[in-house]
């Protein structure tokens, strides 16, 4: 009866089938396409060498993509399709925590492993799922390097403000930043979650002004980062430093803001300037070069994280020597190592607890890495002129 539910026999394999449902259209498509670039780059790199070593055979990688149209409901449906129709062996995750919630629930039902490349909302990993592993460290960590940098400044500020749209990932980030800043002795004089998707932040800006904050940390997305910088200026609010999670690393940010983008800080999970290296891609700089050859400019951490997802999967399969879910899961669990992306180690829930973050600053059009010192290519300009 339940013929459709049976697994394909493994003996006849000629390739490793990997499924990825990503947003190629709709509101998340900009990032969805970056993620796809990352997956493609990894796949080409592996297949150029004949594929992944599974036991005594080398099997090429085939990635099947579907477009979830930036809709959670659709991404769940497509994941079920990838598993039951296309019979994929593993899954690479979508962009964002929302769709990852949806796809990992399906994958768990069928006992398939997902490497969640761009989803680190804590809640995803608190559901007791066995089959989800995160490339990124917990979302709440992303401002750590920026806060560390502030704490080490000679003329360090004492009052900081944190704002975030009330959306899954940004709020996780903002809460983490608040906790860490307080731990480091800063006074969080203003913390606010504003409505997602607003086109006007003037009252929030006013409240920041009134709070006497010296430094602003903004969680959220590109549009909000641009809006914040612009309205800060309009309302004549002068701060000593401004930092964002998403925004400064993208070319759009500078294009949209011109000179006003100068000296804004960005925090990121990864920068090409970092001095990590490891198997598959070599060093971070090597990776950046490869990316540029294939896709031109515009490398961001999103693409790198996606490639890193592939790398982790590849290393685990090679270590397990099989495509069996159980074996690969064990290999991932016991993995501890460094690649171009940096260090990785998973806890019980599948979160990466070894990763760090970097802080950079836009200085006259250049992204200058300023923290941690080990990766730094320049000094932070503080306070902003």
């Amino acid at each position: 009866f339940a013929g459709g539910q049976k697994e394909v026999k493994k003996a006849e394999r000629t390739e490793i089938r990997i499924g990825a449902s990503v947003s190629l259209s709709g509101s998340l498509s900009r990032f969805g396409n970056l993620v796809k670039n990352g997956y493609e780059l990894w796949k080409d790199t592996v297949n150029a060498k004949g594929g992944i070593q599974v036991g005594d055979k080398k099997l090429p990688v085939k990635i099947i993509y579907y477009d979830d149209q930036s809709d959670n409901q659709t991404s769940a449906k497509l994941t079920e399709k990838l598993i039951t129709q296309d019979k994929v062996d593993f899954l690479l995750g979508p962009y964002g925590s929302g769709p990852t919630f949806a796809t990992t629930a399906i994958a768990e039902k069928y006992n398939k492993i997902t490497i969640a490349t761009l989803a680190n909302a804590t809640k995803i990993y608190n559901r007791g799922f066995k089959n989800v592993f995160s490339v990124l460290s917990p979302g709440s960590w992303i401002f750590y390097s920026f806060i560390d940098m502030l704490a080490n400044l000679p003329n360090k500020p004492s009052k900081v403000a944190i704002i975030t749209p009330n959306d899954l990932f940004p709020v996780t980030v903002a809460k983490g930043a608040k906790e860490y800043a307080e731990k480091k002795g800063f006074k969080v004089v203003y913390y606010e979650e504003y409505s997602k998707g607003v086109q006007d932040l003037s009252s929030t800006i006013l409240k920041i002004k009134n709070s006497g904050a010296e430094v602003l940390m903004g969680s959220g997305y590109l549009a909000e980062a641009i809006l914040t910088v612009r309205q800060l200026k309009e309302q004549n609010v002068k701060l000593k430093a401004i930092a964002f999670t998403t925004g400064p690393e993208l070319i759009d940010f500078q294009k949209n803001l011109g000179d006003d983008a100068n000296y804004v800080f960005g925090v990121s999970w990864w920068m090409p300037q970092m001095k990590y290296s490891g198997p598959v891609f070599g060093s971070a700089a090597d990776y950046a070069k490869k990316y540029k050859e294939k896709f031109g400019a515009g490398l961001t951490y999103q693409a790198a994280a996606a490639s890193q997802g592939g790398v982790l999967l590849q290393l685990a399969i090679e270590k397990a020597g099989s495509l069996d879910t159980e074996a690969v899961r064990n290999a991932l669990k016991s993995y501890k190592g460094t690649t171009f992306w940096g260090p990785t180690e998973f806890n019980e829930k599948g979160q990466n607890i070894a990763g760090g973050t970097v802080t950079f600053q836009l200085q006259n059009g250049e992204k200058v890495t300023v923290w941690p010192p080990a990766a730094a290519t320049g000094k932070p300009v503080y306070p902003m002129p």
Binding site: S27, L201, L206, R230, N236, K255
Partner: protein, 288 residues
């Protein structure tokens, strides 16, 4: 803090007003809730952006060009598509404009990609301090243009023959035909004018907000609220609706967390509907 919030609200409100006027016009005249209105605004913003980046023309100066282009787009859409179904039920026209909206968004996606864009003027961010408050220059300019155009539109509707004909057609299709109004043309002009107004809104938001092909949806949400607040079929109402919404948003969120900003707009909408079913300035007998 409050005076500044009020200033911010008023400046933003005029822009909201322009968003509402064109929407309200099409709704009032043709009984169409034009879900593609947000897309028209988006096209206006993109045109303004493109003219600025390619020819370096200031968005304030390119407003007439954008208006003309959007008028043509609106006119053509009405003439060759919408006129075919405009006599159908509310469901039909509504769903039709929804289809149109998806289509336009996707065409824009092909042309301009999903990237966020906005116009960065040399004087953006400049502001005039007066007393304890500051007035951002760009927003002041936008405010002035919005008020001016609202005024011109008001005159157009009240004083010109075409304006009267638009109104008459709105209220009695056959009655308008009988006195010799070319209703096909009037409908198309109406949509054209509405689109031109949307173009103005687009030009005005391009320097202060980020645009991408998906901003149409949220803007429609605003247009709804503004239109209902102000009352259907009233230019002054749309302006008032815009001001009220913007003030509610800016003043309201000065006292309560900003996460309630969107909630506030809708709560006001529902309250107004319950207590003043025709909005602040809505006319009786308008599409009843």
């Amino acid at each position: 803090m409050l005076p500044q919030a009020i200033i911010n609200g008023i400046l933003l409100g005029a822009v909201y007003g322009t968003i509402g006027i064109g929407f309200s016009l099409v709704w009032g005249v043709m009984n169409i809730i034009n879900l593609a209105h947000g897309s028209f605004i988006m096209i206006g913003a993109y045109l303004s952006y493109t003219i600025y980046t390619v020819y370096g023309i200031d968005p304030f100066l390119s407003i007439p060009i954008v208006m003309v282009l959007l008028f043509l787009i609106g006119y053509a859409i009405q003439r060759y598509l919408m006129n075919l179904v405009v006599r159908g039920s509310v469901f039909i026209t509504l769903t039709f404009t929804f289809g149109l909206q998806i289509l336009i968004a996707n065409i824009c996606l092909l042309i301009w990609k999903a990237d966020y864009r906005s116009i960065n003027l040399s004087y953006s961010g400049a502001s005039i301090p007066i007393g304890g408050v500051v007035i951002p220059v760009v927003r002041l300019g936008i405010f002035a243009v919005a008020i001016l155009l609202t005024f011109l539109f008001y005159i157009f509707m009240k004083r010109t023959k075409i304006g009267l004909a638009i109104n008459a057609t709105a209220q009695n299709y056959e009655g308008a035909r009988v006195v010799g109004v070319d209703v096909k043309n009037i409908y198309s002009i109406t949509m054209g004018v509405s689109a031109a107004l949307a173009g103005v809104s687009g030009s005005l938001i391009a320097p202060i907000m980020s645009i991408n092909p998906f901003i149409g949806g949220p803007l429609i949400g605003k247009a709804f609220v503004i239109c209902v607040l102000g009352g259907l079929g009233s230019t002054v109402g749309a302006l008032a609706g815009g001001l009220v919404l913007a003030l509610v948003e800016t003043i309201g969120t000065s006292f309560i967390p900003s996460s309630f900003q969107n909630l506030l707009g809708f709560v006001v909408l529902v309250l107004v509907l319950i207590f003043m079913p025709r909005g602040l300035f809505g006319k009786r007998l308008y599409n009843e």
